[in-house]
Each structure stands twice: as structure tokens, then as C-alpha cells.
């Protein structure tokens, strides 16, 4: 139900169904995204942790962190966000051995978040800054 152009005070059932369908479609694509991330991790291991590979890996997890949150999968977003922070730190400061070892547990946490995933109740995010 809308109270004016652009104002959404409550979604109609049809609109809710539309949004839910999109969420389920997104969820169905998550295994493929996780596989890409897994592949990127293997590339890091195999490729000597080169910056180009790290950057590609960062972009994958950055996108997942953002889109998962928008689609209501907060747990996945948070887990991807942890990996994103790891990747940024790695890009900034290099990768000592102990930091490399962290990645496995972070990716494990992401897989657990996926296994547990149901859309979170939507919370009001940070609003416009101006």
C-alpha cells in the first residue's frame, strides 16, 4: 500500500511475493558464488598470494558482502565482510603466515553462514548522508 508517489508504507502481498521471489532466486545462486570464492582462495594458495589475485578475491567477497545484506542474508553478509576486512588488510599490509592461515577459518565461517541462511528480518540500514 502506498501513500504517495515514492512512499512505501507497506508492501502489498504481490510486492512482498515479488521481493521474496527475488530473495529465493538470489539464495539459489549463492552456492555458485561460494564456489567462485573457494576457487579464488585456491588461486591465492597456488599463485603465491599475488596482489592481482588478492584484488580479484577482494572484489568477490566485497560484492557478496554488499549484495547479501541487501537481499536480507545478514549472516552471510557479515561473514563475507570479515573476509573482506582480511583481504583489505592483506592488500595494505602484506600477508605473514599467520594471516594466511586465518583465511581458512573465515571461509569456513562463510560456509556455515550459508548453511544456516534464511533471510534476516530486514532492518533499517544507515540512511542518507548529506
Amino acid at each position: 500500500m502506498r501513500s504517495g508517489p515514492g512512499i512505501v508504507t507497506r508492501l502489498t502481498e504481490a510486492q512482498q511475493a515479488q521481493l521474496e521471489a527475488l530473495r529465493q532466486s538470489y539464495r539459489a545462486e549463492l552456492p555458485a558464488k561460494l564456489e567462485l570464492i573457494g576457487g579464488a582462495v585456491e588461486t591465492l594458495h597456488a599463485g603465491g598470494w599475488e596482489k592481482a589475485h588478492l584484488m580479484a578475491f577482494y572484489e568477490l567477497v566485497h560484492k557478496l558482502a554488499g549484495s547479501a545484506a541487501i537481499y536480507g542474508f545478514g549472516g552471510i553478509s557479515r561473514a563475507a565482510g570479515e573476509i573482506e576486512s582480511w583481504a583489505l588488510a592483506a592488500l595494505d599490509g602484506g600477508l605473514p603466515e599467520d594471516r594466511r592461515l586465518e583465511l581458512s577459518s573465515l571461509v569456513g565461517a562463510l560456509r556455515e553462514a550459508f548453511a544456516a541462511s534464511e533471510p534476516d528480518p530486514l532492518t533499517r540500514p544507515r540512511s542518507a548522508i548529506r
Binding site: P5, G6, I7, Q18, H62, K63, S67, I70, I129, R130
Partner: protein, 133 residues
């Protein structure tokens, strides 16, 4: 001079998943006519024909980022003065200062909830429109 109603939104966003849910929310929930572009080049190519009232612009895009995209859109007569809202997770003070330098209307922080985005855009546009009076 009265500012027109917000009807046509150009969404410039490279992530297909975010394109999908955002354009759906803006179109279905907000009632706007939305054109989606996945890159700066697409946006520049379509701007003249689409003639948006508002541009929603992702900042982090491969190739030309949102800031350079805005500079390029300002060279297109159809979007030389079109209000722009940045959509971004990069909201550190230094980043926001850059967005203000480019005279963006507002910055909406990612991630956003799709229905709240529609409301937020409405509020921003109402304020922008009312500032003209």
C-alpha cells in the same frame, strides 16, 4: 522555477544482483521508470535518450568509477545538471567530502534495504524540490 516531479531514474550499478533488486524496488514499489546501466560507458550512451530526472550512481565500479562517471555525465547536455545520489559503502569523511565537491544531492550508504531506499529517495527529492521554493 518549480522543479519537476521525480519520474525517471537512471541507475548506474555494475553488480547484477544489486541492479535487479534495486530496479525492482524503484519500479514496482516506487513507481518510477528506471533505466539500468552496468557501467559508465553505458550510462553516458543512454543518458541523452533516457533523460533521467535523477541518477543513482554506484561509486566502486571497474574501469571508470562513480566519481569520474559523474564528471563525464556532466559533459552530456541531458545530464549536465541532473541531480545525482551516490550509492556506496565508502562513507569515510574523506570520501563524503569528494562526493560533496561534485555537488551530489546525497549519499546513500550500502547496504540498503530496498523498500527503505525508495522512501529515502522520496525524502531526498522532496527536500530538493522544496528548496527551490
Amino acid at each position: 522555477m518549480a522543479r519537476r516531479a521525480l519520474k525517471r531514474i537512471l541507475l548506474v550499478e555494475d553488480d547484477p544482483d544489486i541492479q535487479t533488486v534495486t530496479s525492482m524496488a524503484l519500479g514496482s514499489f516506487g513507481g518510477y521508470t528506471v533505466s539500468v546501466c552496468g557501467s559508465a560507458l553505458e550510462a553516458i550512451a543512454s543518458a541523452a535518450e533516457f533523460r533521467p530526472d535523477l541518477i543513482l550512481l554506484d561509486v566502486m565500479m571497474p574501469g571508470m568509477d562513480g566519481l569520474d562517471t559523474l564528471r563525464a555525465l556532466r559533459q552530456v547536455p541531458a545530464t549536465a545538471t541532473t541531480p545525482v545520489i551516490f550509492l556506496t559503502a565508502r562513507v569515510q569523511p574523506a570520501d563524503v567530502a569528494k562526493y560533496k565537491e561534485l555537488d551530489s544531492l546525497a549519499v546513500i550508504r550500502k547496504p540498503f534495504e530496498p523498500t527503505v531506499l525508495v522512501e529515502t529517495i522520496h525524502e531526498i527529492w522532496t527536500r530538493y524540490r522544496d528548496e527551490a521554493h
